[in-house]
Symmetry: C2
Subunit: 708 residues, 2 copies
C-alpha cells in the first residue's frame, strides 16, 4: 500500500548560503538566532565546525580545544597507548597542557577558510563538448584550480560539485597538523556496546573525545613540536548549560559524505529492483564460497576471515538499505513525484530547452542497464581477489607511471603507490590459491552466462566460454604464477613498464590481456559521466523550479562539504506499539551491563551512578542522568562528531550514529524512521566533573565544575 | 541498589467473596458496578466464567456459546481436522448449528455451582495431630468430602486449600461433556507468531475460538449425541460494543493455577539463591549430555529431541524467573517486609500464640535445606529417565495396586494407569541405552559427591560410592534388562505384584531396591507438609493482620479456584527509553509478516487489512484496527482464556499470555514489569464481520455485523 508520505519534512543538508532562503522555516522550527548569521561557512559560528580525522569536530575554546567522537579520535588514543599505558582501556585526562599527548603524525584538522563559486572557470573549457571530452575538460580545470590554490603553504583545496554539475565551488581549508589528546573516556564508556549496539537505539555510549589544535610559534600550521602553541580559532562554540528534551529544536553542522536523494526515478528503481538485490545475491555467493573453503581448510578460513567479515557487512548494509527503501515505498514515491514534475515542466516556457536534455540524460541512464551485470562482476573481480587484483594493479601502474603525475589516473598517482604496495604485501596473509580460484570461478561463471551484448572479447579470450575452459585456465594460471611469493610481487611492483609488458608470469600475462577491457569500461564510464555532468543540471534545474512552485527549497546532495541540518529531538516509533524515547539515561548502562565487553562499564562509572550525585546535569523532567539523545536531523556518513546545537546555537550534543532503520537514508529521508544519535553534553560534563574529573578543562569550556 | 517498590499496587488474585471488602479500591480504580454483585462465584456474572480444557472460558450467549483461547481449544480443532479438511490451517466457521463439530470426547467444561467453606470438617480429624498424621487426616477428610459430593451425577468436586491450610472450601462443578466447535480462525491468525512471539509484547495473535456447550434432552450433562440441545447457562457475559484505551479500567476472572506470593522470606531466598540456579545448572548438564550423545549418534539425537526441548524450555523458564526475581530485588524486599511484620507482631497480644508456631514453621523450612540437593537429584532421576522411570513406576504400582483405589497414592490410582502405560509405550521412541546411562551417570555422580548427611543407603547399595562402581552397575543393569523391549514393559505393567517382586530383571531389581528410599522421601515430604499445613496458618494470620494494619487486604495464593483481578490497560517500559504501547494494530501483522510460518498471515486477512474497511471496530484514538492489548492484571498459568471486562462488566478481551519480564510473577508481582496480554474483542468481531464472516454468530453475541 502506497503511503501518503511528506518526505520533505525536516529533511535537508543545507549549504550555509541557503539558510537565509529557508530562514522562515528555520525560525518557525524554533531557531532563535538570525539565519543570515549562518550564511557564510567561513565566518563564525560555522567556521568553528571542522573536518577532523575522517569525521567532523568543533572548536570549543579560544585556545583550540576541539570536541569530536571517541571513534573519530580513536587512532589518536591508540597511537598513544602502550603496554604500560593503555589509554584505550583507561581513557586519558591530561593533567595540564604539558601533558597533552601528540596525535599520530598523519592526523589532520581542516578549517574551511574559502568557499568560492568557480562554475564559470570549471566549465569554460567544456562548452560545446560531450562525453569523455566534457569529463576531461572539467577534470583538468578542477585540477588546475586545486593546484593554484594549494600553492599557498598549509592549505588543502578541492573542487566541490553541487547539483550534479550545475555549480562548482573551490573549497580552501587551512590544514593543522599538530593535534593533541586532552581528554578521552575509557573505551567501555566511549564505545559502550560496540558492534552489538552499532546502529542501535536506545544507546548508551559516551562517544566523545577532546583534542587541542596547535600551530607553530608563527601561528601557522606545523608538524608537532614542543615549541608549538595552541591554535586560536577564528571562532568557537559555547557548550550549553542546559540540555534538550523531547520536541526541542536542534541543528547540526558537519561534513556529510555522499547522498543520492536527487537521483532520477529510474535510478531509484535500478537501485531497489536490481542493484541492491543483485549485489546481495552475488556477495552471498562469495560468502558461501569462502565459508565452504574455510570449512575444508582451516588455514584458508583464517586467511579470508577479514574479507568474509567485510562481505557480511556489505550484505547486511545492502539488505538494510533495500529493506528501508522498500518500507518507504521509494520507487512509487519517486516515480509519482518525477512524473508530476515532468508534467508540470511541460507547461513551462523552460521546457523547450530543458526537456530534450532531460530526455537525453534519462536515455543515458537507461542505457546503463545494458551492461550493469557485467560491470558489477568486473568490479568484484578486481576488488574481491588478492593476486588477480595485485596483477591488474601492477599492470595498470605500468600504463600510468610513464605519464606526468598530474595526468595519471587517480588511484594510480604517486600518492597512491604506497597503498597499492601495502595491498600487495597484505596478500601474504590473505591469499590462498584454492579460495581465489573458487572466487574467480564464481564470478566468471556468472559472467559466462551473460548475453552476448555484455561480452568482453578480452575476457572470453582469457577465461574461455565454458566451465571447462575456465577451470583449465585457472589451474594453469594459478599453477604457474610466481606472484604467490611476496618477494616476487615486490619485485614486479618496482619493475619498469617494459619489464612488466615483457613478463611471462602466467597471471600477469592474463591481467595484461584483460586490461584493455577494463580501460575500455573505464573510458565508457567517464564518457557517460561527462555526459551526465553536462545533462543532469537540466533535471536539477527543472526539479528546483518545481519545488520552488511547491514552496520548497532544494539542497544539493551531500559531497563532503559543510552542511547544516535542523530538526528536533524526537522519539522513534520503530514498529507497531514499539516506541523508543529520545533521551537515554544512566539506568540503561546498568541494565545493559554484563561486566563483559562490550557491556563492561568501568567501576568508577558504576559507582558514580549508584551514588547518584548528578547535580545540575540531571534532566529536570526525567529526573535522571541523561546519556544520549535522538533527533530527526538529516545526517549521513561523515557527520560523525558533528556538533548538535540548540535554538540559541549552543552545543548540546555530538552526533555519532544513526538507527538501523535509517540505513537507507543515503537515498531517501523517511521522516518516520530517519533518526540521528547524539551523545548528550550533560553526560560529557558529568563525567568530567564527577567521574574522571578535569576541572581546568571544564573551566576552559566555560562550564565550570560543581565540585571544584 | 534496593528499589523503593510498592509491590502491592494492582496486585491481587481475589476470591470473589473478598471483593466487597476491597470494594472501595475497586470503585476507585474505575469499576462502575456494585462490588457486592461479584461476591458470589456461583451467581451471575461470575458463574458465566468456566473451566475449560485446562484453561478458562466464558459463556457469551444464552444458548451456551463459550469463548476461550485458540490454544485452549486447539485439541478440539485438531480432533476435527483431516487430510481433506484442515481446520488448523483454514480455521472453521460453522455454517449453522447442525454444522457445529463435536469436540474430542475427553474435552470438558465445568461450571462452578458450589463453593462452601468446609474448614471445620476438613480439620476435625486433624486436631492434636502432627506431621504425617495431620497430613493423612486432612487428606482423608478431603477425599471423603469429594466422594460424597460426586455422588450426584454430572458433577466434579474438589477441596481447595486457602492460605496454606487456614481455610478449606468444597468446590462443586457441573461438568459438561458435549462441546462443539463453532468458530476458529486459521492457525496463522489464532497463533500468529507461535513460539517466536511466545511471551512477547507487542503481540499480534487472534488467540480466540468459539465453542458451544450441549446437554442431553433432559438438560443434564451428556456425552455427545445428535439429539443433544444447547446448554442454557445460568448467566452469560455481554460482548462490549466499545474497546479499551490506555489507562482504562479492566478486570479479569479466571482459574489461575498456582502462585507462591505469600511464602516466607527464607523460601524466597532459597528459590532465588539456590533452587533456580541449581536447577538451571543441573538441567544444563543434562542438556549437554543429550547434545553430546546426539552428535555421536544421530538416531539417539532424534529419540531425545523432545526431552531436549523440554529441558531447554525449563532452563529458559527458570533463568527468566531468576532474572526477574533478581531484577525485582525479591530477597531484600521480602526479608525487610517479613522482619517488619515480625517486629510488629511482637507488640501484639496474638504474638504469644502465633510466634511459637511461626518459629516452628521456619525451623521446618530451614531444615528442608539439609536435603534439598539430594531431593532435586532423586526427583530428576525419576523424571528425566525413560526405562528407569518405567521400572520405578511398575514397582510402585505393585505396592499400590493391592490397596483400595481411594487409598492408593495419587498418581498411581486406577485413573492414572492409562498415563503410566502410555509413558511405558512412548519409551520405545524415546529411549536409547547409552543416553540413559549417560543421564543417570550425570545425576548419580552429583549424588555421590553429596555429604554423608544426604546419603541414602539404598542408593549407595545400588550405585556404589565411586565412579567405577557406578559405571559397572549401569553397564550390568542396562546390559541385562529386557525392559528395552516394549512387549516386556507391557507384560510387566500387567503383571501381578508378586510377579514384580519376584522378577529377576536387573533394572526392575535395582528399582525395587531403590524404592524404599523413594517411599521414605515421600513420607518425609508428607510429614513436613502435614506440619506446614498445621503451622503456616499462623504465619498467614500474622501477615493478614499486619496488612490490615497497613490498610491492605490479602488474597490467598492461587490454587486453580475462581479469582478476580483488576487493574488497567497500561504500557510497558521494558528498558531504559523503550516503551511498548498497550494496544497493537493490524499494521504490526503486516510488519511482522514474512509469508513463512509462524508469520504467514492468511491472504484474506492481508487483503482485508489492505482494503482498510475497519468500520466501527477501528480504535477512535489510534485511528487504526486494534489486535491485542496489554494490562497490568494479575494472572498466572491457568488464566488462559480468562474474560477481560471493562468498567461496566462487558467483555472486551480474552487473556492469552504474559510478557517475558513477568515470568517471575508466580513468586512476585512487580508492577513495573507484570503485564498480561489479551486479544481485543474488536479484532474478533472484525474478523467475524469482514474477513471470515459469521453474521448469525455475531447476532447471537448481541453485536450484529455491520455488513449483513
Amino acid at each position: 500500500m502506497a503511503l501518503a508520505l511528506d518526505v520533505k519534512a525536516d529533511e535537508g543538508m543545507w549549504m550555509p548560503a541557503q539558510l537565509p532562503t529557508i530562514g522562515k522555516a528555520l525560525r518557525e522550527a524554533g531557531y532563535k538566532g538570525d539565519p543570515k548569521d549562518l550564511a557564510d561557512l567561513t565566518k563564525a559560528p560555522l567556521n568553528a565546525v571542522v573536518r577532523i580525522g575522517g569525521g567532523t569536530g568543533a572548536f570549543v575554546s579560544s585556545d583550540g580545544l576541539v570536541v569530536t567522537n571517541h571513534h573519530v579520535a580513536f587512532g589518536v588514543i591508540q597511537y598513544n597507548s602502550k603496554p604500560d599505558r593503555d589509554l584505550i582501556t583507561d581513557g586519558y585526562v591530561a593533567p595540564d597542557r604539558a601533558g597533552e599527548l601528540p596525535a599520530n603524525p598523519d592526523y589532520r584538522l581542516r578549517v574551511t577558510v574559502g568557499f568560492d563559486k568557480v562554475t564559470d572557470r570549471v566549465l569554460a573549457g567544456a562548452a560545446g563538448k560531450t562525453g569523455r571530452a566534457y569529463y576531461d575538460a572539467v577534470d583538468a580545470a578542477s585540477k588546475a584550480l586545486v593546484a593554484e590554490c594549494e600553492k599557498e603553504q598549509g592549505y588543502r583545496c578541492s573542487v566541490a560539485n553541487m547539483f550534479y554539475g550545475r555549480d562548482f565551488y573551490l573549497v580552501k581549508q587551512l590544514e593543522l597538523r599538530d593535534l593533541r589528546l586532552v581528554y578521552a573516556p575509557p573505551r567501555a564508556i566511549g564505545n559502550y556496546g560496540d558492534e552489538i549496539d552499532n546502529f542501535v537505539w536506545p544507546r548508551h555510549a559516551g562517544d566523545f573525545t577532546v583534542l587541542r589544535a596547535y600551530v607553530g610559534p608563527d601561528g601557522k600550521p606545523a608538524d608537532y613540536s614542543p615549541d608549538n602553541k595552541p591554535y586560536h580559532p577564528p571562532s568557537h562554540l559555547q557548550v550549553a548549560r542546559e540540555g534538550v528534551a523531547d520536541g526541542d529544536f536542534v541543528m547540526l553542522a558537519g561534513y556529510p559524505g555522499i547522498t543520492y536523494r536527487h537521483r532520477t526515478a529510474a535510478e531509484f528503481a535500478d537501485q531497489i529492483e536490481w542493484r541492491l538485490p543483485a549485489s546481495v545475491e552475488v556477495l552471498k555467493q562469495l560468502q558461501d564460497v569462502i565459508e565452504d573453503q574455510g570449512k575444508a581448510d582451516r588455514d584458508a578460513g583464517i586467511k579470508y576471515a577479514s574479507q568474509l567479515q567485510s562481505l557480511k557487512n556489505g550484505i547486511k548494509r545492502f539488505s538494510g538499505e533495500l529493506e528501508g527503501l522498500e518500507r518507504s515505498d521509494a520507487v512509487t514515491i519517486h516515480r509519482e513525484d518525477e512524473a508530476a514534475m515532468l508534467a508540470w515542466l511541460a507547461t513551462q516556457p523552460d521546457a523547450k530547452t530543458l526537456k530534450p536534455r532531460i530526455d537525453e540524460a534519462m536515455k543515458l541512464i537507461a542505457a546503463g542497464k545494458d551492461v550493469r551485470e557485467r560491470d558489477l562482476l568486473v568490479g568484484l573481480l578486481s576488488s574481491q581477489t588478492q593476486l588477480m587484483r595485485g596483477a591488474l594493479a601492477i599492470d595498470r601502474l605500468a600504463v600510468e607511471r610513464p605519464k606526468p603525475d598530474a595526468e595519471r589516473e587517480s588511484g594510480y598517482q604517486q600518492r597512491d603507490e604506497e597503498l597499492i604496495q601495502s595491498q600487495l604485501k597484505q596478500a601474504q596473509r590473505r591469499y590462498d590459491p584454492r579460495v581465489e580460484k573458487a572466487l574467480v570461478t564464481a564470478l566468471v561463471t556468472r559472467y559466462q552466462k551473460l548475453p552476448d551484448a555484455q561480452r568482453l572479447p578480452e575476457f572470453d579470450a582469457v577465461f574461455g566460454r565454458t566451465a571447462a575452459d575456465l577451470a583449465k585456465t585457472l589451474d594453469r594460471v594459478y599453477g604457474a604464477t610466481k606472484m604467490g611469493a611476496e618477494a616476487e610481487r615486490t619485485r614486479l611492483f618496482k619493475a619498469s613498464p617494459a619489464d612488466i609488458a615483457g613478463s611471462s608470469d602466467a597471471l600477469l600475462v592474463a591481467a595484461h590481456k584483460l586490461q584493455p577491457a577494463l580501460l575500455r569500461i573505464e573510458d565508457e564510464r567517464k564518457s557517460r559521466e561527462g555526459d551526465l555532468l553536462r545533462l543532469r543540471p537540466a533535471y536539477m534545474q527543472a526539479l528546483i523550479a518545481y519545488r520552488e512552485k511547491q514552496g520548497k527549497a532544494v539542497y544539493p546532495d551531500a559531497n563532503s562539504t559543510l552542511r547544516v541540518s535542523y530538526g528536533k529531538v524526537t522519539p522513534l516509533v520503530a514498529r507497531d506499539a514499539v516506541t523508543y524515547a529520545p533521551v537515554t539515561t544512566v539506568a540503561g548502562i546498568v541494565e545493559k551491563n554484563t561486566g563483559k565487553q562490550p557491556f563492561d562499564a568501568p567501576k568508577p562509572l558504576l559507582d558514580a551512578i549508584r551514588k547518584g550525585d548528578f547535580g545540575q546535569y540531571a534532566d529536570p523532567k526525567l529526573k535522571a542522568m541523561p546519556v544520549d539523545f535522538l533527533s530527526n536531523l538529516d545526517t549521513t556518513g561523515g557527520n560523525s562528531g558533528s556538533p548538535v546545537l540548540n535554538a540559541k546555537g549552543e552545543l548540546v550534543g555530538l552526533n555519532f550514529d544513526s538507527n538501523w532503520e535509517a540505513v537507507s537514508a543515503s537515498w531517501m529521508y523517511d521522516p518516520r524512521y530517519k533518526r540521528a544519535i547524539h551523545v548528550d553534553m550533560r553526560y560529557m560534563r558529568w563525567l568530567m566533573d564527577k567521574v574522571y574529573p578535569a576541572p581546568a578543562l571544564l573551566k576552559e569550556l566555560g562550564v565550570p565544575a560543581e565540585t571544584h
